[in-house]
Amino acid sequence: MDPVWAVDAVAEPPGKGELTVGPTALRIIVGARLRSLREAAVVTALDAGHTIRGSHSKISRMEAGKTRFKLRDVGDLLTFYGIGDDEERAEILAMAELANRPPWWSAYGDVIPDWFDAYLGFEQAAGLIRGYDAQFVPGLLQTAGYAEAVIRLSHENMADPEIVRRVDLRMRRQQVLFRPDPVKLWVIMDEAVLRRPVGSPEIMRAQLRHLIGVAALPHVTVQLLPFCAGGHLAAGGPVSIVRFRENLIPDVVYLEHLMTADYYDRPASVARYWDVMNRLSVLAEPPDATLTLLDEIR
């Protein structure tokens, strides 16, 4: 099989000193670590708040990753929790410091809607992303040509330079699949994605070749949900469930709409979508059969 992706993926590794994970995700990671340390030390949020000259709600905000960190506060809390001069302390402080720095995609701020920024952070910090798509090949698996065609669909009058920046951003995001410790991507795609051509037949053919190449990577799984599988549960648009490498952080569900997005991290909501993805994965063609089908369609 041609490694088409090597040609199509124009993603460059992030430059030196640039942040790959993103402040949102890092703040959540640091917050979760602080919380587990506080609980292990059997300290109330109120007492912890006093230590850093604040209230219990300041602690709650920090632990939920909803605020920038003052390094002095983080240091004082760690001391209070009995985390002395060791690796763990240094690691958490380093992460807190990184969380205050802009990520690589801040350079694309002009083409990133507010509601999408957090997802970028999650995606770049993910260990596993499970996705369902009914209409388009998911962004992480798109070719530049296909991405451009999709972007033009919703931005008819956009000037070329801005389109190019959007395509660039999407291609750079794909680096998570090609870095040394890549994200695991498990995608279920409705047959309609392949049946309705986007752009032109050439663009669609190149996209299919790319898909076949990427799906052959050990950390990428694609399952086609054929029309004949009948009705299914994923009512509405695309679904992504992000699971982080850090076991302390809950999974996040991301639902993208035309003008906004929903994020869910409450266990009951995540569980509902996790169940839907399970049922779809059982319903869809297995990965190896999917590769055969893609090859036939191509």
């Binding site: 498990w186 599988a229 009948g230």
Partner: protein, 270 residues
């Protein structure tokens, strides 16, 4: 674009039953995973309330798997594995353990649960040098497992068969024994059997199992040490023989692993 997508068969669509606990998901819960339903967590909590050491037991099985596969791929030089009763993916799955030592190792995972199989196909993926395959198979039919595994494993070269905490799903001891012998009987000489299973040693453990069975889940039958020894008939036991699971070639540690109610061994087929 041409071509038509056809479903792979006319079988009824395999389902996920989230109304009854499933062993793979309950184990996932005990091991700290997130891939379980409320009914699994409830069953897991009840089991643990009656028999608190179950979490140590569940961990002990995973640690044994790690040591066993390291031994088999390392010292014994085995390159083919048949893992029956895959379970949901966790850290250090059989193929990762084996391929860390021998990237070209070939692993066949066998399970009959659609959710386990979907996860295995998506997440238990091989190194480029090796192979992982996934078999929708039932232990009760060892001949068809061996047949299907033959598509991936070379039946003229040694194979390590792994039965890690699965035989209790077969309630009848004689049937469990004939399953093991059926599987081992088809393996070529110089193959291995790595097996761990739970033994009944306390009323609490029995009671936990009884209430678990009442949920409608497939019950798990505890055996005696002698019965587990019977699974190894005709095989030469590798040192230290059949021992409490934590004492099978433990990794060096300043602490002793807690002794849990399970034992393990690796047998060699001459």
């Amino acid at each position: 674009m041409t071509g038509h997508l056809v479903s792979s068969g006319d079988q009824p669509i395999p389902g996920i039953d989230s109304s009854v606990p499933h062993s793979a998901r309950v184990w996932n819960y005990w091991l700290g995973g997130r891939d379980n339903y409320p009914v699994d967590r409830a069953a897991g909590d009840n089991y643990r309330a009656a028999y608190p050491r179950i979490v140590d037991v569940a961990r002990a099985y995973r640690y044994f798997l790690a040591r066993a596969v390291r031994y088999l791929a390392g010292d014994a030089g085995i390159r083919q594995f048949l893992d029956v009763g895959t379970g949901l993916p966790t850290v250090d799955n059989t193929h990762e353990l084996a391929q860390r030592i021998a990237p070209q190792a070939r692993i066949v995972y066998v399970d009959n649960d659609p959710l386990v199989l979907a996860h295995a196909r998506a997440l238990l993926t091989s190194t480029p040098e090796g192979v992982t395959a996934y078999l929708d198979g039932d232990m009760h039919d060892p001949a068809s497992i061996i047949d299907a595994a033959g598509e991936t494993l070379d039946s003229t070269k040694p194979i390590a068969l792994i039965l890690n905490g699965v035989l209790g799903h077969v309630a009848d001891y004689e049937e469990a024994r004939s399953i093991v012998h059926g599987l081992v009987g088809h393996l070529p000489p110089a193959s291995y059997l790595a097996l761990a299973d739970s033994i009944h040693s306390s009323a609490a453990h029995e009671e936990a199992g009884r209430s678990y069975a009442k949920t409608g889940a497939v019950p798990y039958t505890l055996r005696t040490r002698e019965q587990i020894a019977g699974f190894f008939d005709g095989l030469d036991l590798i040192e230290p023989g059949l021992v409490p699971i934590g004492r099978w070639r433990p990794d060096p540690s300043p602490f002793n692993a807690p002794d849990v109610d399970a034992c393990a061994a690796i047998g060699y087929k001459p």
